[in-house]
């Protein structure tokens, strides 16, 4: 599991220091700190950023809003973001609301509020509401990553690293090259949100990454994956052989 990269756009050092301290204490990685609109854009496009915290007012101007509007305009580049504001000015909020999905953090905030705002931004951005706060799930799925909440911490997992997934009732065992962990998510949601050309069901309880298959042994109903992981191939899902053949 990797840390989440946060880009901070904040002109006041006192504020940004508090932010950085709070984020680092909760295992977030700071991808960069911009103090103006221009820097913010270059940092955003030149770094791997998972989420952006944007102060609405930069040097007295609502440049933060302008930045959010510009990254929102590019659907490929856009990332979740949280507005940081000390104002409850209705006009500003009405404008901010237009930059959907909209989440905000009111200054002054405590550490919990910061984490809560970030989690909310992920949920809203990937349109998977009420995941981190519910007891049934703890993972938000994007195209590239799984964002998993482990205790108080939020982590990400590169989906392409996943070798296979084993389903056990409400839980899913995720097996990557390096590690193995359990997440709370429903199977249907995985099937719905994962790339179906890459991840195929091989058994009622198994989903395999076809790119990680090293060998298929139909006679033994077995698939051997990278790192010598084995998953069962049931008769129902045997057409996976045809797909993998084409892929290879």
């Amino acid at each position: 599991m990797d840390n989440i990269n946060v880009l901070i756009i904040e002109d006041k050092p006192s504020e940004s220091d508090a932010l950085i301290k709070g984020l680092q204490a909760n295992n977030y990685t700071i991808a960069g700190l911009a103090t103006n609109h221009k820097d913010a854009l270059s940092l955003f496009y030149n770094n791997k950023v998972d989420i952006v915290i944007i102060d609405i007012f930069l040097n007295g101007l609502p440049d933060g809003l302008a930045f959010a509007e510009s990254i929102n305009a590019d659907p490929n580049a856009s990332k979740p973001f949280v507005f940081l504001t000390s104002s409850t000015d209705r006009k500003i909020f009405e404008r901010a609301k237009l930059t959907k999905p909209f989440s905000y953090l009111m200054k002054p905030f405590n550490e919990l509020e910061l984490l809560y705002a970030l989690e909310l931004a992920f949920e809203k951005f990937y349109a998977q509401d009420d995941v981190f706060l519910s007891e049934e799930e703890n993972t938000v799925i994007s195209k590239e990553y799984l964002f998993v909440k482990k205790g108080k911490l939020l982590k990400k997992v590169d989906i392409s690293d996943i070798i296979y997934i084993e389903v056990e009732e409400k839980y899913c065992n995720i097996i990557t090259e390096k590690e193995k962990f359990v997440i709370l998510i429903s199977l249907t949601k995985i099937l719905e949100l994962f790339d179906s050309t890459v991840f195929c069901r091989t058994h009622r309880n198994f989903i395999a990454n076809t790119k990680k298959i090293t060998e298929i042994i139909p006679s033994d109903n077995l698939i051997i994956l990278q790192g010598n992981h084995r998953v069962i191939l049931s008769d129902k899902y045997k057409d996976i052989i045809n797909k993998t053949y084409i892929l290879k």
Binding site: N110, E111, E113
Partner: protein, 580 residues
């Protein structure tokens, strides 16, 4: 020739006597009335009969025709109609039609004989004397009972006249004498005058002057009793002619004069009539003039009245509008007054708020100042333990002051309606966690047992920031009023379908019933400080109440002095439209 003309005059005098002149309620009329009662349904018949009795012949003709044209009805009505029509035609001297109608009456008709009599009269008038004699003789043969009001004398008289015209004097004499006998019994002078005249003429024509003259004289004497000028005139003229023929010129002259006199009086009467007519016309003209004058007057009056009417309407309208505007003015005045009162109240609130807040701030800052002085002294003496406690004290003061200022800011924003307000769904547990996080140091300092047992499943609809402010204030209060080692619990109760009840419970000092009710009372005024040491400005409570209201929630407090307080905030479980 004169003689003939005289005779003609007498004959004509006889005719209209048959049904009406002296027999107003003859059997015939009675019969008709009785009949019409029986035949109530036939409106045309009733009308025809009515007009017949009224002698309005044209109308009688019209309605009887209508009745007949309906067709297919009882024979009796038909006969009556024919009879009405025959009679009417006869009266209008249209003899041909009249005959046609009478002949179409069937024999079984009750008044068949009357129709025969009338037919006889018609032919008599047409000078078809022989035919007339046939009709009259038929009637003459009838028994008295069958006559139904036909006068035997009239029949005989008519017969006599016929024979007279045919120069069959003997027969004529016979009948006329008979009729005179009968008429004398009836004692009707005007008929008798005619009859005497006729018989006299009869004799006179035969040059039986001796027989004729007494009848002429009789007629003359009788005529004096009669009011009819025409009869008097004729009788006198006859006498004049007779006397002249007898060469009694002097007498003839007297009679002639008398004749002239009657003629004159007839003329006079006519003249009088004419004068009367003229006078009448003059009077009518006069009246018309008066009427014209009155009409003109009336017109003027109406014009005046209308003028008055319109002007009064205009005045009323003016009055109405004036009253309307006056009322509007009063209304606006009232509104302005209430607004002024509200403004005054708000201003008062603001002033109190200012004084309280500034007082609080001053004392806080002052405490900080003295604490800072102490801090410096202790730093100089390097008394580290004391330093630590002073710093804690300072941060507590700063915290309190910050909360006060924050409340003040939100209060102002709420009053000016500038703040952002968006109702969303949220999990209550996390909001409580977020707010409690700020108070964890204070809680541990007081050594309180804190427990957030709100279910993670509880979802409420509210504005996040205002809900945070509400929670922060109630938590702040709960901690403030808790004793060391107290218990602070936050939990929910889901007894209501629409509301989730969030309960913040402490076992602190509690409050009196008076304080409780005054806190819950809806007022914009700040509650006065009771315990300056502990109780704050009241601004927090006021702010919470307003915000709960804005979130469509409810607030309740349960408390007991010395035992603790329960703050119950009811929040909507469902999204409410409007109000937000």
């Amino acid at each position: 020739m004169k003689v003939v003309s005289k005779i003609v005059i007498f004959i004509f005098l006889l005719f209209p006597q048959l049904f009406f002149s002296q027999q107003n309620h003859s059997a015939f009329e009675k019969e008709i009335i009785a009949k019409s009662k029986k035949i109530m349904g036939e409106s045309n018949f009733n009308k025809a009969q009515y007009f017949f009795l009224q002698k309005e012949w044209d109308s009688t003709l019209v309605y009887s025709m209508k009745q007949l044209s309906i067709g297919n009805q009882n024979k009796e009505i038909e006969n009556f109609c024919h009879f009405f029509r025959g009679f009417s035609f006869k009266e209008k001297k249209i003899f041909k039609e009249s005959k046609k109608e009478f002949t179409s009456i069937s024999k079984d008709f009750e008044f068949f004989n009357h129709s025969k009599m009338l037919l006889g009269q018609i032919v008599l008038e047409e000078k078809k004397f022989k035919e007339a004699i046939n009709y009259f003789q038929e009637i003459e043969k009838l028994h008295e009972d069958e006559l139904l009001g036909i006068k035997k004398s009239s029949v005989k008289h008519n017969l006599g006249l016929c024979y007279l015209h045919l120069k069959e004097f003997k027969k004529a004499e016979h009948y006329l004498l008979q009729s005179i006998k009968l008429e004398e019994k009836q004692n009707d002078s005007s008929i008798l005058v005619g009859s005497y005249g006729d018989i006299a003429t009869l004799y006179y024509d035969q040059y039986k002057d001796n027989l004729a003259i007494p009848y002429f004289e009789k007629a003359y004497h009788l005529s004096k009793k009669v009011k009819n000028y025409q009869l008097k005139q004729n009788a006198a003229l006859n006498m004049a002619v007779v006397e002249k023929n007898r060469n009694h010129f002097a007498k003839a002259l007297i009679y002639r004069e008398e004749y002239d006199q009657w003629k004159d009086s007839l003329n006079n009467q006519n003249k009088i009539w004419e004068v009367a007519e003229l006078e009448k016309q003059f009077a009518i003209k006069q009246k018309q003039k008066e009427v014209g004058l009155l009409q003109a007057e009336n017109r003027i009056k109406i014009a005046e009245r209308n003028g008055f009417f319109y002007s009064s309407i205009v005045l009323l309208l003016l009055l109405g509008t004036a009253v309307y505007f006056y009322r509007e003015k009063i209304k606006t005045n009232k509104i302005i007054l209430t607004q002024k009162e509200a403004l005054d109240e708000l201003n008062d609130t603001k002033d109190t708020l200012f004084s309280i807040v500034s007082h609080d701030l001053r004392s806080s800052v002052n405490a900080m100042k003295t604490s800072n002085t102490k801090l410096r002294e202790n730093l100089a003496t390097k008394n580290l333990d004391e330093l630590d406690s002073l710093l804690h004290q300072n941060s507590a003061i700063a915290n309190g002051t910050y909360n006060l200022l924050d409340n003040l800011l939100h209060w102002v924003l709420l009053q000016t309606k500038q703040s952002f307000f968006e109702v969303t769904s949220m999990r209550l547990y996390f909001i409580v966690e977020l707010m409690a996080y700020n108070y964890l140091p204070l809680i541990s300092e007081k050594n309180l047992v804190f427990e957030n047992s709100v279910s993670k499943k509880d979802i409420v609809f509210a504005d996040q920031e205002s809900l945070k402010i509400i929670l922060r204030n109630f938590l702040d209060n709960a901690i403030k009023f808790s004793k060391e080692n107290g218990i602070l619990k936050i939990y929910t109760q889901n007894t209501n379908e629409d509301y989730c009840e969030l309960i913040i419970e402490d076992n602190g000092i509690g409050m009196s019933e008076n304080t409780r009710t005054s806190l819950l009372k809806e007022t914009t005024l700040m509650s006065k400080k009771e315990n300056a040491e502990i109780i704050g400005t009241g601004l927090g409570m006021q702010l919470c109440k307003s915000m709960i209201q804005k979130n469509n929630g409810k607030l309740d407090i349960e408390s007991e002095l010395g035992k603790g307080t329960k703050i119950i905030v009811s929040l909507a479980k469902k999204y409410h439209n409007g109000q937000y």
